[in-house]
């Protein structure tokens, strides 16, 4: 067990180094001259040369790579060519809004997905089961950016229920002090008991959040269903039933508990896809998160920012996979 965890962590580190190598190669292969971009269009050749020395672009490639990795271990991702700020500072500003969306979307996925999975397991091969299967395949097939537009059309244009985009109304930002603790508005306003801001933030977050949640809802429902169906055939359930326990008690108290592990794992693994969906949804709802940051960076060819977001996302992804693997390894039913 301990040996497995150590091996798994080492393997994770190797993969991480590989990810860094790939981003380094991509960044060095960019056709446009970063130095020329850095000094602007009206720079003289000598200024470009000066910038090259400053940015370390004249060093031999292996030296550049070692510098790159050393900088990374010290949390330095380079400077954005667009905002001219350290990429790390940019990330610090843009991560909380994205995190807020992802966390809430996963919460919705758990609240809706698990009951949906339970009922489709109970109604196996009946209408509800088919509908939930169609829903979960449908959720993977939907272009998220289009769903976002569709929701705007229905809930903003037709029904006028929700705002078109943004995180908070301009009036609220003028009239009230915005609490800043974690940078996640919903959380901060909740903790400080600032209900006006909380209500306003909630009103803004619902549409993007539901759009992002569609995919994990389907996934959680399918996972809960198949895990539950498997578990309901186990001896201990038969034993519980033969004691004459109520079916609802058997289901909620005894069976469901053992499906939660696989649901947690499937949620972790879906993070990569959900994150990318979040990026696309953010550009539609003008949500000031990582997705908007990447989209603008892509248009302006600001490659340090693109690589920064890529490294950040890949690291999170590797870390969560590592945690998922360790959770699986901790299950006493599995011998490694």
């Amino acid at each position: 067990m301990g040996k497995y965890v150590i091996r798994r962590i080492l393997l994770g580190l190797i993969v991480l180094l590989g990810v860094v190598t790939i981003t380094f190669i991509i960044a060095r292969m960019i056709p446009s001259d970063p130095a020329a971009k850095w000094v602007g269009p009206r720079a003289t050749p000598s200024q470009i040369e000066q910038a090259k020395i400053e940015l370390g672009l004249n060093d031999p490639i292996p030296v550049q790579f070692i510098n790159y990795v050393t900088d990374l271990t010290q949390g330095d991702l380079g400077r954005s060519l667009r905002t001219r700020q350290p990429v790390v500072d940019d990330l610090k500003a843009y991560i909380p809004p994205t995190l807020e969306l992802v966390v809430l979307a996963f919460l919705i996925a758990i609240i809706i997905g698990i009951p949906l999975g339970i009922y489709s397991a109970k109604m196996k091969d009946r209408l509800l089961d088919h509908v939930s299967r169609l829903f979960s395949i449908g959720a993977v097939s939907l272009p998220t950016f289009w769903v976002a537009l569709f929701f705007q059309l229905i809930f903003y244009k037709l029904l006028g229920l929700f705002p078109l985009g943004g995180r908070i109304s301009t009036e609220t930002t003028i009239l009230y002090d915005i609490p800043r603790i974690t940078g996640m508005l919903i959380f901060d306003s909740f903790v400080t008991g600032n209900w006006v801001i909380f209500k306003d933030a909630l009103w803004h977050i619902i549409l993007p959040c539901v759009t992002i949640a569609l995919y994990p809802i389907g996934l959680v429902a399918r996972m809960t269903r198949s895990a539950l169906l498997e578990i309901l055939n186990e001896d201990y359930i038969t034993a519980a039933r033969s004691y004459g326990l109520k079916e609802s008690l058997v289901l909620w108290r005894y069976a469901l508990k053992n499906t939660l592990g696989s649901t947690a794992i499937v949620l972790t693994l879906s993070l990569g896809y959900t994150l990318v969906n979040t990026f696309l949804v953010e550009t539609i709802f003008s949500w000031p998160g990582l997705g908007n940051y990447v989209a603008t960076s892509v248009v302006t060819l600001d490659y340090p920012s693109i690589m920064g977001v890529t490294i950040f996302s890949a690291t999170t992804y590797i870390l969560l996979n590592l945690i998922a693997d360790i959770i699986i390894a901790m299950d006493p039913r599995i011998r490694l």
Partner: protein
């Protein structure tokens, strides 16, 4: 005599195929998606012939007719240059399907040989190849493609290359597993015994025998790849105007949203239906070909 023997060897395969078709027939959702997929291919091939305004597919402008809502003439309305959106969405089927097939094909070209080599040779070569796939798979999907297109420059061809470069590890993993089990088979060992060179064993004996699960997997991936192409184009990294690509159309339509709602809604609906059909088909195929569910 030779010919008869050949037919004899084919018989069990034909029987299996018939059984697969029987299973396909039994699952109505898979059956319907199978027919719709065929219809989509036909639409893609004949899109230019069927479209009511073939000139509008690229950049023939008709500005006096711009941004008209859907009518009996323009089923899906018109865009900012007065082009018929229906004709463009129809032709978009061809763009999406070709792009998806080429991307998957390119990914296969990289992934299959690597997987066969890793599985057959084993040892440190296997270890190195598999660690490389681990690295590629630890990037969230699409993000690696975005990073790659940013060096290659935007465009449909580059988007295809980027997708292939982020997709191949899946095929490497699949083929590697197949190759490992194939290595133990008598015919491979016989070939080894008579001194057949290793490269010939890999490409003549192992690769052809791993190809059918790979084809199935590739057809299941079509939906995901179409969605990725659309997402890249939506971000401005894939198809460039005037190519009638669905994601690009939605991206442009945002300038006229929500007033010209039809401009965004119909291309998106096309993406959704196409991807859904391929995903349903893939899901059904998996059930049909999975030995566990196949028996009952």
């Amino acid at each position: 005599m030779e010919k008869n023997k050949f037919i004899e060897t084919l018989k069990p395969r034909i029987k299996e195929l018939k059984f697969s078709l029987y299973l396909l027939n039994r699952n109505w959702l898979t059956k319907v998606s199978f027919y719709i997929a065929i219809l989509l291919f036909l639409l893609a091939i004949f899109s230019q012939v069927i479209s009511p305004f073939p000139g509008h597919i690229m950049d023939e402008a008709n500005v006096s007719q711009k941004l008209l809502p859907p009518t009996s003439v323009n089923f899906y309305g018109t865009d900012e240059l007065g082009r018929d959106i229906f004709s463009r969405v129809l032709y978009g089927t061809r763009v999406s399907l070709t792009t998806a097939i080429l991307s998957v094909g390119l990914a296969l070209l990289i992934g299959v040989p690597l997987g066969a080599i890793a599985g057959t040779l084993g040892g440190w070569i296997d270890e190195v190849i598999m660690r490389i796939t681990d690295i590629f798979l630890s990037f969230p999907p699409l993000l690696l493609a975005i990073a790659l297109v940013s060096i290659l420059g935007p465009g449909l061809e580059n988007a295809m290359i980027a997708i292939a470069l982020s997709w191949w590890p899946w095929y490497t993993r699949l083929v590697r597993g197949q190759a490992i089990s194939m290595k133990e088979r008598k015919f491979v060992q016989a070939a080894e015994a008579i001194g057949t060179p290793t490269w010939k064993i890999i490409f003549k004996h192992i690769v052809p025998n791993t190809i059918s699960p790979v084809i199935v997997q590739a057809s299941m991936d079509m939906g995901g790849v179409i969605l990725t192409v659309a997402s890249l184009s939506f971000l401005g990294l894939g198809a460039q105007p005037p190519i009638p690509e669905w994601g690009l159309m939605i991206s442009t339509s945002r300038n006229y949203f929500p007033d010209a709602w039809w401009y965004s809604i119909f291309p998106g609906l096309a993406i959704f239906i196409t991807v859904l059909v391929f995903n349903l088909l893939g899901d059904g195929l998996r059930e049909i070909l999975d030995p566990k569910t196949r028996k009952n």
